[in-house]
């Protein structure tokens, strides 16, 4: 048992070490991509906590991501808060919005839950456009370069930005690993597997799912806030339905219910679109074919298939 736990931890620390090594080794272009991929991977990890582990198929996570984006950006531009506290504000906004939505949406399950979360996210998207006076609507908010630094760390500079993204990713990955191997992680999985049975072991499904969704929202919020501060732009398009579907695709691609799967999903999807773009202008066609192939040959995603065949202990 102990040997196993160490292996899993070592494997995930290895991934972090590899990303640190790439900070020095990766060519500029890929270096910049990886920073973005790591931030989006935190968003995907959050989605995975809700969907992959707890079985909550949400189509409204863009709302929580947007809460992070706007929470951080508006704290800076409207509230005049420094970038560091703004990151915390964005993360908290994601968690609070997710908990508030959960209080209502978790009264439903299955398809109804998908529709209710989708509607909440669409309402959020339209609200952002409606409140253009503060959110600047479609045009979006550009955060001035001078405001995008935490202490001495200038996040407009490629190097520090990569390291900040890696720090966020590291924290997200390790907390995720700890969470899913904790007793509460086991209860989350029990809700996914058989809610009725879990209830008869004394767990309140509503409460467990609400906590899981709030944690998921904290992740989405943290990723959104980091995205705003690191890349300096926040727009309504980032709150659109596309950003609810993307984390689902990332997680399915990388492997739902695996800790490193979301990162792998974002990575593969990003470079799939990139390389498809060098071959043809119909990039989405290539992505579509790849997704069909995934469903046919590895319905549990990349790491899901690896776990099934090789590493059964993979968390």
């Amino acid at each position: 048992m102990t040997v196993r736990i160490d292996t899993a931890l070592a494997l995930h620390l290895g991934l972090i070490a590899l990303l640190l090594a790439l900070h020095f080794a990766a060519p500029d272009y890929h270096h910049a991509n990886l920073a973005k991929i790591m931030v989006l991977a935190v968003y995907a990890m959050g989605y995975n906590i809700a969907y992959g582990y707890t079985g909550l198929l949400s189509l409204g996570h863009a709302l929580f991501f947007a809460a992070g984006l706007y929470g951080a950006a508006m704290a800076i531009t409207v509230g005049g808060v420094p970038a560091g506290p703004a990151l915390i504000a964005g993360m908290a906004a994601g968690g609070i919005v997710a908990a508030a939505v959960g209080l209502l949406a978790l009264r439903t399950t299955g398809v109804a839950f998908m529709i209710v979360t989708l509607m909440f996210a669409q309402a959020g998207y339209l609200t952002i456009l409606y409140l253009g006076q503060w959110t600047r609507g479609d045009e979006g908010i550009v955060i001035a370069q001078g405001l995008r630094h935490i202490g001495a760390l200038d996040l407009t500079d490629e190097g520090p930005r990569y390291l900040a993204a890696l720090a966020l990713f590291t924290a997200g990955l390790l907390v995720n690993l700890w969470l899913v191997r904790s007793p509460f992680g086991r209860v989350m999985v029990a809700m996914r597997e058989n809610e009725d049975r879990a209830r008869m072991l004394g767990y309140n499904p509503f409460q467990v799912k609400l906590v899981a969704l709030a944690i998921s929202g904290l992740y989405a919020g943290a990723a959104g806030a980091a995205y705003a501060v690191m890349f300096g732009y926040v727009g309504a398009s980032l709150a659109s339905v596309q950003y609810s579907i993307l984390p689902l695709l990332w997680v399915l691609l990388g492997g739902a219910g695996t800790v490193a799967g979301p990162f792998l999903g974002v990575l593969v999807m990003f470079y799939l679109i990139y390389y498809a773009g060098t071959l043809t202008s119909a990039t989405l066609l290539v992505v579509g074919v790849a997704l069909v192939a995934l469903v046919l040959f590895a319905p549990k995603g990349i790491l899901g298939a690896v776990r099934e065949r090789l590493l059964k202990w993979l968390p």
Partner: protein, 237 residues
């Protein structure tokens, strides 16, 4: 009854449309007894224990458990009060390991430090400690039934409700099961829905017979055997 009452139900009622599944049932469980619930198919046995465990809300009537009115308590809180229910159709978490299945039952009692030890002890009790790392869905049917019972036991319930626990078990497994249940009383009270009359007559201290959602008779195995109404309705006498 001289013995302390653990559970008392009064006028418990649940209708499904025109079907009177449970119809004004009065029912008492004494502390530490093994009580069997029998009756023909469709007599309302599973619905009745569903009302006791909270899986199905009662339309009328009252339930007191360990001195407390639990009629309006949701199922998960009744579990925490000490009522454990094992499912008629085996509902283990089939994609989780045997260990995780039982650990889920154990950890809810707040035993963080002793989780692994208590989980193994619960498995040991049903003789399944060698299967701890196996995925539950790959177990034989008999082992899944035992796992289900281990999960119930791991909750350390005051009342363990077993819904047709021997269904589909081989004779040797049934004997082991009987010894297991005998060992539970008098620490825990057991309410058993059972079709196997051999098991009922051997194990039960008292028997309640349900028919058409109503209590037909309650008594010792000897009294039930001699009861003419029961013979007519159930034993085919």
């Amino acid at each position: 009854m001289a013995a302390l009452s653990l559970l008392e139900a009064r006028g418990l009622t649940r209708h499904f449309g025109g079907l009177k599944a449970v119809d004004g049932v009065d029912f008492d469980l004494a502390q530490g007894e093994i009580h069997a619930l029998i009756g023909p198919n469709g007599a309302g046995k599973t619905t009745f224990v569903g009302l006791l465990s909270g899986r199905i809300p009662a339309q009328a009537g009252r339930i007191r458990f360990a001195g407390r009115d639990i009629t309006r308590l949701p199922a998960h809180q009744r579990v925490r009060c000490g009522i454990a229910y094992t499912f008629q159709i085996t509902q283990v978490f089939s994609r989780l390991t045997v260990f995780d299945n039982v650990a889920l039952a154990v950890q809810g009692r707040g035993v963080a430090k002793r989780l692994a030890r208590e989980t193994r002890a619960a498995l040991m009790r049903v003789g399944m400690h060698d299967h701890a790392d196996q995925v539950a869905g790959t177990l034989s049917y008999g082992h899944q039934r035992l796992l289900e019972i281990a999960m119930g036991l791991a909750l350390h319930p005051k009342l363990l409700i077993l819904d047709e626990p021997t269904q589909g078990l081989a004779n040797a497994e049934i004997d082991a099961f009987k010894r297991l249940v005998e060992g539970l009383a008098p620490d825990a009270t057991v309410l058993l829905i059972e079709h196997n009359m051999g098991v009922v007559m051997d194990l039960a201290h008292r028997i309640t017979v349900l028919n058409f959602g109503q209590v037909l008779a309650t008594g010792t195995p000897g009294e039930i055997r001699a009861n003419r109404a029961v013979q007519a309705a159930y034993l085919g006498g």
